[in-house]
Subunit: 453 residues, 2 copies
Amino acid sequence: MGPVARDLSAIVGAEHVLTGAATRDHVTDATVSRGVRGSTDAVVLPGSAAEAAAVLGWCYEHDVALVPRGGGTGLAGGAVPAEGQVVCGLERLGRVIAFEPERWRAHVEAGVTTGTIHRLARENGLMFPPDPGAAEQSQIGGNIATDAGGPHALKYGATGAWVTGLEVAIAPGELIRVGGPATKDVAGYDLLHLLVGSEGTLGLVTAAWLRMIPAPEVALPVVAFYPTVAAGCAAVDAAFSFGLHPAALDFVDGRAFAAAAGAYPGTPPDGAGLVLLVEIDGPREDVERQRTELYEALGPGSSRLDEPPPADLWRWRDGLSGAAVAVRGGKVSEDIAVPVEHLAEAIDEVRAIAGRHGLEGCSWGHAGDGVLHGTFLLDSSRQEQLAAADEAARELFDLAVRLGGTVTGEHGIGLLKRGALARQWPEPALALHRQIKALFDPKGLLNPGKKVA
Amino acid sequence: MGPVARDLSAIVGAEHVLTGAATRDHVTDATVSRGVRGSTDAVVLPGSAAEAAAVLGWCYEHDVALVPRGGGTGLAGGAVPAEGQVVCGLERLGRVIAFEPERWRAHVEAGVTTGTIHRLARENGLMFPPDPGAAEQSQIGGNIATDAGGPHALKYGATGAWVTGLEVAIAPGELIRVGGPATKDVAGYDLLHLLVGSEGTLGLVTAAWLRMIPAPEVALPVVAFYPTVAAGCAAVDAAFSFGLHPAALDFVDGRAFAAAAGAYPGTPPDGAGLVLLVEIDGPREDVERQRTELYEALGPGSSRLDEPPPADLWRWRDGLSGAAVAVRGGKVSEDIAVPVEHLAEAIDEVRAIAGRHGLEGCSWGHAGDGVLHGTFLLDSSRQEQLAAADEAARELFDLAVRLGGTVTGEHGIGLLKRGALARQWPEPALALHRQIKALFDPKGLLNPGKKVA
């Protein structure tokens, strides 16, 4: 045990510090499918917010960088450590501190899984709407650090919209609370939402106050198949202009659908250019009425409309990423977002860009929000394919910016998109960004190399 | 015309710079009812975002403080200038740059009134939910600067939840854009929401991208009268636990109701301890079903339930503040917020605090969000009453903090609550607050004396 691990053991107990081969599960996230792998001297697992703050304090005192880590399901390498950096895993902070269903709120530690929060809500007639993928592994602290979205963010907003308070360890090692259980507070600058989505570069979230709402009586997904991207995107437009308010409006392009067709909860059609997954929710009679309108909106140009069970459909949807990896053993996927009117162009361009780099491209995402997981299928053991995909990803970022969108709609900048913010923000805004980082983290020890160029 | 006005005239044209007596309408806001009145050397009215940035640039070059001003309906003195400060009125930035109902979005200049945005939405089957008071006077730029709420924020969130992009003039005189028409973007720190609610102390909002949603088919308000505060607050609890999701859940205490009873759209009862204004909305059949449940929730302990026309009810509700002023010619009102379980205690305490200071107290607010406009009725020409009310307000802040709430739920810190943030934030968070101010406004010229102690 080296001196770092020894000192950290004094804070959290030796059994909660991992070193050597035992760190293996804490040095990668979902970007392992594109060959990203980190390394660390020590993984420290605090058992309380106070221990987490003490760990940060020790790191600040000894100039050691700290990489906060939730469930490790990130898609931008935000939790991947570099040599000499300590990983702080939040999994032991797994306590539901308070759950008050009659007040529609919960107070939870950062390591509680998203799935646990969904279940707590559901079992009490409530809904916690944010639904990023991998709910059983991903943790609320990580969801907050990335402002995680998901299909239902279209109607309900991303994670940040459901957080009313945060407990955060900040440099040089103090615990602060911003907000709390009260839903409205405009006394100070909105530090809460500045911390949400900051990817562990400004502070370490240790606990959160969450709000919930009564669950809709019924959720009804409709899957619509279209022969072409253009026909499918025309149906997206129609869904908006019919005055419907879908809870989710996702798309899967033909190639991505084909990769996952075997697991589709229903009989997959022979071929499709674009598939829409639309969910309407609300009281039963209203969903019946919306269903009629939805069929009118989605019907024209479609080859088939399906109604799979909601849980099956969204489980299948959650497996798309894995299915894409399975095609060739790896993938490079980037979650650009564009104003929704440019969705068709962006979907077509992903495949065209891939083609120019000798790769196969596909995409899926949240059509209603213009979020597009542009994906290049590859063998991650072949360096030339990874290099080609990195080039292709850069073209994808150019595309997003050219269409007035963003290089990341929901996964974050992480390690992999480092520097990409400069493509879309003017220099004075970038300067503020850098200065905010310096203000919260003057020594640059909080998840260095992530988010900020 | 002094040198300041002359220089500013060169930027915006002499006819758009007001001096002397012509500044009269630009030196007060709604706090005039408690005797607050400012003064200014010059009011400058830029006609474009570029002119606004140039005004800020001139101020920064010449070390002159700038007070941004929207519709002047603020309740915390946030737009009240002090001698030597220039007021920048945004009323000429009144253009709807783009409105795309089929995409549920609008791009508007900062001076567009909230009422205009509501009408645009409504006439196209949409809803822009934030509904702070005085919609015909208040401007979207001011709503953004204060993160203005309103009764319907309970279900739909405050202004910030409906803003996807901002154009902002920042020091030392540049225009930046954060966000835009796309709904999802996690590339940078959330500067957008840092600016929302910053009360013009970090930058000058010149335009915004707003999102909207399909309007609910029906909105049905139910007014319930209770003999006591306790009975009314028990009904608030019941409304939550019945699994209803009211769009609004406001309260008016007996004294405040009596002040406005003459204008109530219906036959006012002889006396009431607490009145609840609850609105349910949605598709027609569902509202009928909710109505039954709502009557079950609100009925026990009530003396009467009314269903006034929604527009009439909310117009009446908007007039409560004026009705309270009319009792004695003035009032001091502070919008504390508390976790909703402490609402009854807070309502009772407002009257008790008032009594201890020889004043009459009353309150109304957003029960569901725990927001309480604690009000002391007074004659604003009598200094001893104003002084007593200031003392009473300080006790109100102590109460809010003691109950785990905030000194301001929606009106902001402004001039009047300056320094009050220190009551509820720990020193490390206050330090971050001060440093963020210094980062955006190193010379301290943006609305000095507001928000930051």
